[in-house]
Amino acid sequence: MRKFAIMAAVVAAFATGAQAEDLTGTLKTINDTNTIRIGYRESSIPFSYLDQNQKPVGYAMDLCMAVVDAVKKKLNKPTLAVSLIPVTSQTRIPLMVNGTIDLECGSTTNSKERQKQVAFSDSYYVTSVRMVVKANSGIKSLSDLNGKSVVTTTGTTSDRYIKQNEKGENLDVKNLYGKDHAESFLMVESGRASAFVMDDILLASLIAESKNPKDFAIVGPALSVEPYGIMMRKDDPQIKQVADATLQGIFKSGEGNKLYNKWFMSPIPPKSVNINLPMSDKLKDAMAHPNDTGI
């Protein structure tokens, strides 16, 4: 209802809007095909995931839909079709590069490696890579991992942080690999691995969704600090400008805090679980000084 009211007001204000410049890149494609294609994740809670009605929802999805509204306003196309396309961490970059999706809204880290192929908006989340352990295991720091097994998810770079620290602290750690986050968490839950290293928000949401959240604890130093951004095609200044302007508007107006609390500090679908992770200082900083610096 609220979104409809905003859209209606915006359309009324810009009813006679005319293009001031030629459209290029993604905006041109969107204009020509009358469709904007959004890539979403199926289980990146709480950024982009399917709720109990199999509808993609989440913190990143809300931000993306605000960008979609801004695109509709800019192109003066209130009836622009929005096409939602599921992606995985393997397919998101190829699908972006070949034009299947125009924006990717999930939990994609803004990294220099990725910037070789795609571009990112200003960061809307900052995560630290830490580890989850069983609360009664007594593991508090990296050195407690000596002689134990540590699991990470295949395809993520979390294992190299352990390896780098391994060399630094002469640890003997067995590296295990889970096929996805759920399997990696299962390995810790069943006792196969002593720790699961991953972005702290993913760990917090896995703990919140588990059968006995009290059994787990997130411990250890921040092995890496990673910003998330909306992914888009490279060398495409127009769509980036729209996305950045939208995000900056949301952050500066306090809407960003409201959105954060909606997804991180309140019960969320599908099971009305509350992740209960207060906003980190790094994220407060990123909202106060929007930037798209990658790691």
């Binding site: 970059i93 190829p94 990294s111 295949t154 196969r192």
Partner: protein, 249 residues
């Protein structure tokens, strides 16, 4: 608007964040593991499959029924489900001490479970091939063997099985090639073989070069399967008995 940035030399590049590690080293490690798990599982599958396939054709119900049950169970459950059972479910079903040993202290758990899962799965299929080979022989062969004074066991050993194995070398080659392809499924339990390395490299390390790395890995799998194919063709020629189906015309 296909703006993919090609980089065919990606596998020769150094892994960012490490000191002197290159992507092709990861592929080699993966290749070695694929080879080991596929060959170990094949030996298991061949031996177990031959026994079970033969047992299915035996006149004694005590032999043929357990064999049939084995084949039906292991053929009808997908390989990944079987691997997950051995890796995740079995330790929970065993008594706590045994389960903990399986989870924490077993050496090379992924390799052993991978070999076990692959071997048991393929053994069911090999058993069917062996049974087919035996049934394809003319009925007169068994009767002639018995008439000559052989016991049933001796008839199998000296008359039926040698011929049956030679007949089924082509479908057995298929199974052997499948073994190498199915070994990719063991990435699901964390075995760091070739497909795992593909997922690892094209995940966060080199996400921009998925097409090139996939092409290289596909090539490696193709070459492995081709070598198996040609190797088995050579075996077929070497063991052919002149005058029988596989022999010289």
């Amino acid at each position: 608007m296909f703006k993919y940035q090609w980089d065919w030399g990606i596998i020769l590049s150094e892994v960012p964040g490490t000191d002197g590690e290159y992507y092709y080293q990861w592929l080699i490690k993966g290749f070695e593991l694929t080879l080991s798990v596929a060959l170990s599982a094949w030996i298991l599958a061949l031996i177990l499959g031959a026994i079970i396939g033969t047992a299915r054709t035996a006149p004694s119900k005590w032999l043929s029924w357990p064999a049939t049950i084995y084949v039906e169970v292991f053929r009808n459950i997908p390989l990944l489900a079987q691997l997950f059972f051995w890796f995740f479910a079995l330790p929970e079903l065993l008594p706590t001490a045994a389960g903990d040993w399986m989870k924490q202290r077993m050496p090379y758990p992924e390799f052993i479970i991978g070999t076990l899962g692959l071997g048991l799965f393929t053994a069911a299929r090999v058993a069917e091939q062996v049974r087919t080979g035996i049934l394809a022989l003319p009925r007169g062969q068994k009767n002639a063997g018995l008439a000559m004074g052989f016991t049933l066991t001796q008839t199998y050993r000296y008359v039926l099985l040698p011929n049956a194995f030679r007949i089924i070398i082509p479908p057995l080659t298929s199974e052997f090639m499948n073994m190498f392809k199915n070994s990719a499924v063991t990435y699901g339990i964390g075995l760091t073989e070739l497909y795992f390395q593909l997922r690892q490299i094209t995940g966060d390390y080199a996400p921009g070069n998925i097409i090139e790395v996939t092409a290289y890995v596909t090539l490696i799998y193709l070459v492995m399967a081709f070598i198996v194919n040609r190797g088995m063709a050579w075996v077929e020629r070497k063991v052919a008995i002149p005058g029988t189906i596989g022999g010289k015309r």
